[in-house]
Symmetry: C2
Subunit: 255 residues, 2 copies
């Protein structure tokens, strides 16, 4: 085929965020880019879908090689609606991000950025989530754009195994050493709530907390790579079956 690759870009910080706009500028050279992203912040939406109410979308911009839409749904809704109803062909690549904030370890589970990448993978579109370890609205995305471009080029050329997507996290430093392939660090969030009082005097709970790494010295996990000045790159699977435990479980339940 002679067509340029079709690249679908989305995120969970919303279509106006700096991260998605810098990513879009960075990837325009690689193909025809369609941005289809939430109309506002959808952080922490994981793979949530909207089914009780309808969603809609709007065209924001159309220029040579770039079309931008906003959508009232979640990141996963954006991917579903774009592929089902809006795009004129299957994308060759989906990139979600660049997220304002880290998505390593178990955060892949809560992240709307990664929810969108998972959804792309379910559609058999090679998919990458990209996050920067800086939450601020005016974060410096230059290194993460450089690595997102490099990785996108590799994935466009080599594709990915069916059912596998990528989680790229970039440290907020001037000269990132490169990408290091890692596994997801083991650990969990602790002390997750700050209690305060609402205007009626009732206790209310704000999500906060800190990440407790269960395996801090492991040189193959994503938190270690970031600490060492590398971008962490974790290949992830949509099939979550624990194949190793199937036989033992069958013997426990009998039959």
């Amino acid at each position: 085929m002679n067509e340029r690759p079709l690249i679908l870009i989305t995120n969970d910080d919303g279509v106006w965020a700096k991260g998605i706009n810098e990513l879009t500028d960075a990837l325009k050279g690689l193909g025809e880019v369609v941005v289809f992203a939430p109309d506002g912040p959808r952080s922490g939406m994981s793979s949530a879908i909207t089914s009780a109410i309808p969603i809609k979308y709007a065209l924001l911009k159309k220029e040579d090689g770039l079309t931008v839409y906003s959508c009232t749904g979640t990141p996963v809704d954006c991917v579903k609606l774009a592929i089902n109803e809006v795009l004129h062909r299957e994308p060759d690549l989906l990139v979600s991000g660049i997220n304002h904030g880290t998505n390593v370890a178990i955060c892949v589970n809560y992240s709307g950025t990664m929810g969108a990448a998972i959804e792309g993978c379910i559609f058999n579109v090679p998919s990458i989530g990209v996050s920067l370890t800086d939450h601020s609205a005016d974060a410096d995305f230059s290194e993460s754009c450089r690595l997102a471009y490099e990785l996108s080029e590799i994935v466009l050329k080599n594709s990915l195994p069916p059912g596998t997507y990528l989680n790229l996290n970039v440290p907020n430093i001037p000269n990132v050493k490169g990408m290091k392939v890692c596994h997801q660090a083991d650990g969990r969030w602790v002390n997750e709530y700050m209690c305060s009082t609402n205007a009626s005097g009732e206790p209310v709970y704000w999500l906060t907390g800190s990440f407790e790494n269960a395996d801090p010295g492991n040189q193959k996990n994503d938190t270690w790579a970031l600490d060492e000045g590398y971008a962490s790159l974790v290949p992830c699977k949509i099939d979550v079956t624990d194949y190793n435990y199937m036989d033992q479980l069958q013997s426990l339940i009998g039959k």
Copy 2:
């Protein structure tokens, strides 16, 4: 210890749903039960978390061996808030459900029922999600309660490997043949939107669609088990790393 096991029950259909109430009645004999569930429907919320606004909870009922709370958050928020702030000790078991509707194959990714089970697993609480293949509000939960009880008893006795949770789906038939350990079926949803018009004349999109099974004949997958009259039981992992692809990916990116 001489204490009775502490069982945390939650769901995504909300604290008033028939499924969670029948499950609660069924499990009361196994230990001290705390229900901590959303105050209304939260279907399709996956592992979404609430961080931009605070959440709160309310005590609905307290009687011998049973306490019931409602919470304004998502299923994952419920698990987090209960364990961080409300329960007086770590639960020995978490059961999420019984969901009104199937959660097999890739639905584990979108389901709030399974989001809560994943969250329990992240807290190292042995966790089970239970779903019935019937969406109706007045579904018959007798067989799914029987199997949820049987499985809960087994898990309380044997625990689960760290990082592994269970996804039980029960067919809506009178005499389920028993539980069959399965892997997640491969496949995806297709034709996912119905377009209609809102009051302003704009097109809006309602999520719908049908599941396209990529591996229908496979006697080890969960959709097959349900079709054959078994309850499907899939052990799942919170670590989604694709370990088999790490070396190949490292060679693609060089270094």
